[in-house]
């Protein structure tokens, strides 16, 4: 009985344990479940859970401070005509040199610069009109101006120009104004420049402009670049000494805070004119199951789950493993190329107060998957995975069916674009939105 012998045995045992003890493998499949397994779990797709879509419209959207404006007229096929008017105030001219004796005014123009955005029929003429404001642009203690803001202006235009614009055109457009207006500015400045209340007096005298279009001619709307120094008044003059010397003088516009876009809906179709305040829900049942997203003018879609309580029964012995909110754009209104790559989903309360975004498991904004059916034009849809949202809702002590979800474009579009998308509601004949719930049921012993 030596020590070596004990070690040898220990080695033998260990080797045996490891070689034999720790291996197992399978090859081939055996599906005998139907004969063998007693399993009461199942997974089912429930696509009959009611969702109610409705259109809502924000009381107002901020249109100032966007570095962009809109001007033109667009006849939205769903809701009717939408007219946009751009407001500008004039900066007070500070350094100013003018030879009162010799300098002669040639003309004065308003220069605006398109930013390339357009909606509507840009192959037709755009008939621009510039009016002088007769009311001071007043923010009324608010930080911004809105699509609903309005200030009165002279009925008679100061200048007009009919232009045919190429799509995507970004060259400045000059609209010649009444020459008298130029003389008025020059005279006023020369006369009052040394007065201590010069600034106040100037603002009172020259309140600003509006740029609008003649809605009887214009069938399109364009975006304007309103970043500083892109829009201006330009005065052309000359002095005749031995030769004629031409002068150009720019009056800058107050673009950052006092420039805004007013959006009017003049001939709104029934029943869209019912959306007179932000708390109103225009149910899909009133709009042929067609609901509107147009962040530019504050439209978004609200989705309610009126029978969410019924899903509580599922919770007892099952789990929603996947809830897909499938939203189908009504392709009668748009082209595939115009489908936005993403749309946003937020929580929304009883009075249409839009709350937080929904997030995915990585903490990013929940974005949908866009599936396009270009071939058959039947099955184009956005699908949001709202599994976590629904499971969380079902964890609430009392499930509040007044809470819903809002679908919108990005807020940056407010006042700068009037792109829109029509989504079919749950009763839409061809483009039906629905909630697909994949539900896993498990047995409990």
């Amino acid at each position: 009985m030596s020590l070596i012998s004990t070690h040898y045995k220990l080695f033998l045992f260990t080797a045996l344990t490891f070689i034999v003890g720790l291996s197992a493998c399978d090859e081939g499949d055996l599906d005998v479940a139907s004969g063998f397994v007693r399993s009461s779990t199942y997974t089912a797709l429930i696509d009959t859970v009611s969702i109610n879509l409705s259109s809502i419209k924000a009381d107002s959207v901020q249109t100032s401070g966007r570095d962009a404006g809109l001007v033109g007229y667009y006849n939205n096929p769903l809701i009717g005509g939408q007219k946009t008017t751009c407001y500008f105030a004039i900066n007070i001219p500070e350094s100013f040199s003018w030879d009162k004796e010799k300098q002669i005014i040639d003309s004065i123009s308003l220069l605006v610069k398109p930013n390339g955005y357009s909606i509507g029929d840009t192959t037709s003429l755009m008939s621009f009109r510039v009016h002088q404001l007769n009311e001071l642009i007043d923010k009324d203690n608010s930080a911004y101006l809105y699509n609903t803001s309005h200030f009165s202006y002279e009925e008679e235009p100061l200048g007009r120009r009919d232009v045919l614009l190429w799509p995507g055109e970004q060259k400045s457009i000059a609209i010649t104004l009444d020459k008298q207006f130029a003389s008025d500015i020059i005279d006023f400045v020369l006369e009052n420049k040394s007065v201590s209340t010069y600034s106040t007096l100037f603002k009172e005298e020259f309140k600003g402009f509006v740029l609008e279009t003649d809605t009887t001619i214009t069938k399109a709307m364009i975006g304007l670049n309103t970043a500083s120094d892109t829009c201006k008044l330009r005065l052309y003059s000359h002095i005749i000494n031995r030769e004629k010397e031409n002068y150009t003088m720019d009056f800058s516009l107050q673009t950052s805070t006092y420039q805004f876009t007013q959006i009017e809906e003049n001939n709104t179709k029934e029943p869209w004119n019912k959306l007179t305040n932000g708390t109103i829900k225009l149910s899909e049942t009133e709009t042929n199951s067609e609901c509107l997203i147009q962040n530019g003018n504050g439209y978004c879609i609200r989705i309610d789950f009126p029978f969410l309580n019924n899903l509580l029964e599922i919770k007892q012995q099952g789990r929603i493993i996947k809830a897909d909110l499938v939203l189908r754009p009504v392709m009668d209104y748009m082209k595939y190329a115009d489908l936005p790559s993403t749309i946003y989903i937020n929580e929304i309360d009883k009075i249409n107060g839009i709350g937080d975004f929904l997030y995915n498991s990585s903490g990013e904004y929940l974005t949908p998957t866009l599936t396009k059916d270009i071939l058959y034009n039947k099955n184009t849809y956005y699908s949001f995975d709202i599994t976590n949202y629904l499971n969380d809702r079902l964890e609430e002590t009392i499930v509040d069916t007044d809470q819903g979800l809002a679908i919108s474009f990005t807020d940056d579009q407010a006042g700068t674009q009037l792109d829109y998308m029509v989504i079919g509601g749950q009763y839409h004949k061809n483009y039906k939105s629905q909630l697909n719930i994949y539900y896993y049921y498990y047995d409990i012993q």
């Binding site: 081939g28 599906d31 139907s34 199942y42």
Partner: protein, 414 residues
């Protein structure tokens, strides 16, 4: 000093073995019911003889089939046994085939003599095993698609036994084996949703069982000239296993949908008994026959709706030892065995009464100090193709090492 080394050695082996026990020891879809597939007891030597052992003595090995046999051990030795099993199994349904390979530590035991008439053994061995892996699919209701489902069974019941065999009268011994039975039966249903979720849901049912049970045995030896005729028997009363049930429903990301632990209806092991007869001619021949009966039909197993039925088991084996003389060649000193057996399955599945039958063979290579290296082979067929069930066959090899340590014999020279 040497004793300490041996102690460390024993502890190491025990630890290794216990860790290895946790592996799957079987792969049979039939193991999903009741307490799983019940293992044949006994040493590799018993296996070689068709799992007989009720009337066989524990002379130089530990016959764990009969506690009474321990009284026949050599009084100065300490027997140590470790055995491993490897199985290649094939399962066949009417259209599919699956092959599995499993291997594991199959038992560890030690035995020694307390006094000349009293032998004692401590054993750890699997009582039953659960191990299967069935790939299937289910219809997703409301769609025309399916999703993959895998049913997996794991675990088993282990037995820690304390056996005592006492020779009450000359050639008549009584045995008592007190066992702690414990283990887990884990049944996992895995549902996968590759297209809609990208994650997986597990529905796991775990039964945890434990209790003590007692098994009584006897052996009686009648020497007749060159022969020894022996009889043996055993009896185990119905045992209720304290059963806890835990269900968990969770996802791959460890998100728990449901988790509940409850005291479940107990699982039961039936009253079982058996008798054996063996005849031994000098040191050369042993022929043994065992019969076992299990009163399973009284047992209602809470975790299955399948009906139970009484079981019978027949075992037959022969051992031949050409010579014991150490000067002869190794082949002459080896022992050779063959056997056969038949056993009923305790469950009727889909109204089919199942049974298994097999043949065995084995040999022993004697080593120094009366230690033994034992090999056993078994070919077993079971199951049925009736009613959509599965036919199965197994090729199993067991390897056993029995060390005969003379712990109680003092060496003159150290």
């Amino acid at each position: 000093m040497i004793f300490n080394k041996r102690l460390i050695f024993a502890i190491c082996i025990s630890l290794l073995s216990i860790s290895a026990f946790s592996q799957n020891n079987t792969a049979s879809p039939y193991s999903m019911y009741g307490v799983g597939n019940i293992e044949y007891k006994g040493d590799v030597i018993n296996m070689g003889m068709g799992h007989t052992g009720l009337a066989l003595p524990s002379s130089n090995y530990i016959n764990t089939i009969s506690a009474a046999s321990l009284s026949k051990m050599d009084s100065l030795t300490m027997l140590f046994n470790l055995q491993a099993k490897a199985s290649l199994s094939t399962f066949e349904s009417s259209s599919q085939k699956q092959s599995n390979f499993n291997s594991n530590i199959n038992g560890i035991s030690m035995a020694f003599k307390v006094n000349p008439n009293w032998g004692m053994a401590i054993t750890i061995s699997p009582y039953s095993n659960i191990g299967y892996n069935i790939q299937s699919e289910k219809d997703m209701i409301g769609t025309n698609t399916t999703y993959p489902v895998t049913y997996t069974g794991e675990g088993g019941i282990y037995e820690l036994g304390w056996s005592n065999g006492v020779e009450l009268f000359k050639n008549f011994s009584l045995g008592l084996k007190s066992s702690l039975l414990w283990g887990n039966i884990d049944i996992i249903e895995k549902s996968e949703y590759p297209y809609i979720l990208g994650q997986t849901i597990y529905n796991e049912h775990s039964y945890h069982v434990s209790n003590f049970n007692l098994e009584y045995s006897f052996q009686y030896y009648i020497p007749i000239h060159k022969y020894t005729l022996s009889f043996g028997g055993n009896y185990m009363s119905e045992t209720s296993l304290n059963t806890w049930f835990k269900q968990r429903v969770y996802t791959d990301g460890d998100y728990e949908y449901y988790s509940e632990k409850t005291n479940a209806d107990n699982l039961f092991l039936p009253t079982s008994y058996g008798g054996g007869i063996a005849i031994q001619k000098e040191q050369n021949w042993i022929v043994a026959f065992d019969y076992h009966k299990g009163d399973w039909s009284n047992i209602n197993l809470a975790n299955t709706t399948n009906k139970t039925r009484d079981t019978q088991q027949f075992n037959f084996g022969i051992q031949y030892s050409p010579q014991r003389n150490i000067h002869r060649s190794i082949f002459k000193r080896m022992q050779y065995r063959v056997g056969a057996f038949y056993a009923d399955n305790y469950l009727k599945i889909k109204d089919v009464e199942l049974s298994e039958k097999g043949i065995t063979a084995g040999f022993t290579i004697p080593m120094k100090n009366q230690s033994l290296l034992n090999f056993g082979y078994e070919y077993k067929v079971g199951g049925s193709l009736k009613n959509g069930l599965v036919k199965e066959n197994f090729h199993s090899i067991k390897l056993g090492l029995t060390f005969n340590e003379s712990w109680f014999r003092k060496s003159v020279f150290q």
